[in-house]
């Protein structure tokens, strides 16, 4: 929203409290989404398009409510695969990142493979895992791990490498041991990039689990989506889209909250860099 120009001050009004922050940052997208849904509802009910081409929002909500038992089970399964896969990916990602940081040989060996592995289409290899590991939980978890592992490993490795070399040198002169330098400098320096990797991984993870279920699942939101599509129940397809998106956003917000709680220095420093008041310091 444009600031009221004032005669005495140049720049933007300072954000005073959470209330005005809410109205400044959260209200606009919420209003926009509300407006789009409203327009969609009007359009879908007036245009005469058939329901299976474009169901209206209210119809989608009804479809979700009617299949709620099935949905609840599907959500639970998909969430389980997502969380398991994420957890395993975090463990492996951190291990590989640590190994790459400790050994240049490991880094040279792994880094290009990690990057190249991202060009492999997950849709193409997903059926392989189904063939190898069946229709249960395992292949989906593996797919989630594969998708999430890369951003985590690479961003954490980059973060570890980004530690200020001068600071490390200073600690060496103070007699710090390797482990102390890790704990005191490298790990804290890596946390911001670890979290940005985690935020990317989290948004991919739900997609990964759903793809796994779509390709060969006995349960989950992917299967719900596939069945709805086959039955031309477009409204249910929309339900699945809304729920997977909702889960992704929820996980994303959760990670952001954890990050803010864990890295107050990082956010405070960033905020200090962008004072709302104009000026060059």
């Amino acid at each position: 929203m444009p600031a009221e120009p004032s005669n005495t001050e140049i720049g933007y009004p300072r954000v005073k409290n959470h209330l005005s922050r809410f109205s400044n940052e959260i209200m606009p997208p919420v209003l926009l989404i509300g407006f789009v849904l409203f327009a969609w509802q009007i359009f879908a009910s007036r245009s005469g398009l058939s329901d299976f081409i474009l169901p209206s929002p209210s119809q989608i909500i009804r479809a979700g409510w009617e299949t709620r038992a099935l949905l609840a089970g599907s959500i639970a399964i998909t969430m389980l695969e997502t969380i398991l896969g994420l957890a395993i990916a975090i463990v492996f990602g951190l291990l590989i990142a640590g190994a790459m940081d400790l050994s240049p040989v490991v880094r040279r060996a792994f880094y290009p493979i990690l990057v190249a592995s991202q060009t492999v289409q997950i849709l193409a290899i997903a059926p392989l895992f189904i063939i190898w590991f069946g229709f249960g939980l395992l292949p989906k978890v593996i797919i989630v791990v594969l998708i999430c592992f890369f951003p985590l490993a690479v961003s954490t490795a980059d973060g570890l490498a980004s530690a200020d070399a001068d600071l490390v040198a200073l600690l060496i002169t103070m007699g710090a041991k390797r482990g102390q330098i890790w704990r005191m400098v490298r790990l804290p320096s890596a946390l911001p990039s670890f979290f940005s990797g985690l935020r990317i991984a989290v948004t991919y993870s739900v997609v990964g689990a759903t793809i796994g279920e779509w390709v060969g699942g006995s349960a989950g939101l992917g299967l719900y989506m596939l069945r709805s599509k086959n039955a031309l129940a477009t409204d249910q397809v929309f339900v699945a889209i809304a729920i997977t998106t909702g889960i992704s956003i929820g996980l994303f917000l959760l990670i952001t909250l954890i990050e803010r709680a864990m890295l107050p220095w990082y956010y405070a420093a960033r905020r200090a860099e962008q004072w709302e008041q104009a000026g060059i310091y």
Partner: protein, 265 residues
């Protein structure tokens, strides 16, 4: 004087820090920089040396060599007459950048040397907290570094260096970012600390008056490649008083240093 035969005599006269014919060249991809050539310098135990020279004359490079972060291409560095593998254990080095950890509060930053020595946090906190007011950081124990001005950050870095409690202090422009008043206060505080604990100090500055006010001896480095072009034994009585900068003697020595630095007088 460096090779005393009488052991009883050598005990008093072995230099604390001795540089013998040090040269250092940095070879990069594009160009090779000769940073220091043929530096020889003997610093007696308890001596206060100030090092002055234009930007790029290799002052920081020299401290890096002494502390052992890099090794000279040729020449020798001795501490207490010995060639140590880990010279860093003997010196407290305060680099030009403050290098405070952004994720630690000021108090947590300054106690790092104590933590590394294995002193329990509670005791380290008490010890450092007592010193914070003296360094003008009284109300800032739990502030994060980015909240502080450049001068305050530098004072925190200075306190961190002091808490290393070493016999040799290598200070790279420790007061460079301070305002004139605080700078004088900390100069006097440093001199008092030095009078009490008799550390050997090598102090880099860009400020001719500061070099004179603090030092027993002022070493002037030439522009790149740095070599020692002038040494001045400071003729001012101890203890130093800020009023001394008004003495004619002081002015004469300022002129001498400016002349050595090539500043038109």
């Amino acid at each position: 004087m460096m090779f005393e035969t009488n052991p009883a005599q050598s005990a008093v006269s072995v230099p604390k820090v001795e540089l013998r014919d040090i040269s250092k060249t940095f070879s990069g991809d594009v160009e090779t920089v000769r940073a220091l050539t043929n530096i020889s310098l003997s610093v007696a135990a308890g001596e206060f040396i100030t090092l002055i020279g234009p930007s790029g004359s290799g002052k920081s490079t020299l401290l890096n060599l002494i502390v052992g972060l890099s090794e000279p291409d040729s020449g020798e560095i001795n501490i207490d007459g010995e060639k140590y593998d880990r010279r860093a254990d003997k010196v407290a080095y305060m680099p030009q950048r403050d290098l405070l950890m952004p994720w630690r509060t000021i108090l947590e930053n300054v106690i790092i040397p104590l933590q590394l020595k294995g002193i329990p946090d509670a005791q380290a906190h008490t010890q450092a907290t007592e010193l914070l007011p003296l360094f003008g950081l009284g109300g800032f124990a739990s502030a994060l570094p980015f909240h502080l001005s450049g001068g305050m950050r530098q004072r925190a870095a200075f306190l961190r260096t002091i808490l290393m409690e070493r016999e040799i202090l290598l200070l790279d422009e420790p007061f460079g970012a301070l305002d004139a008043l605080t700078r004088r206060e900390l100069q006097d505080w440093l001199l008092e600390l030095w009078r009490r604990f008799q550390q050997t100090v090598i102090f880099i500055t860009h400020d001719v008056e500061e070099a004179l006010y603090l030092g027993d001896r002022v070493i002037v480095l030439s522009p790149r490649p740095g070599k020692i072009i002038h040494t001045l034994e400071v003729a001012l009585p101890r203890p130093r008083r800020q009023g001394m900068i008004a003495l004619p003697d002081f002015g004469r020595q300022v002129t001498e240093l400016l002349d050595a630095l090539g500043v038109a007088i």
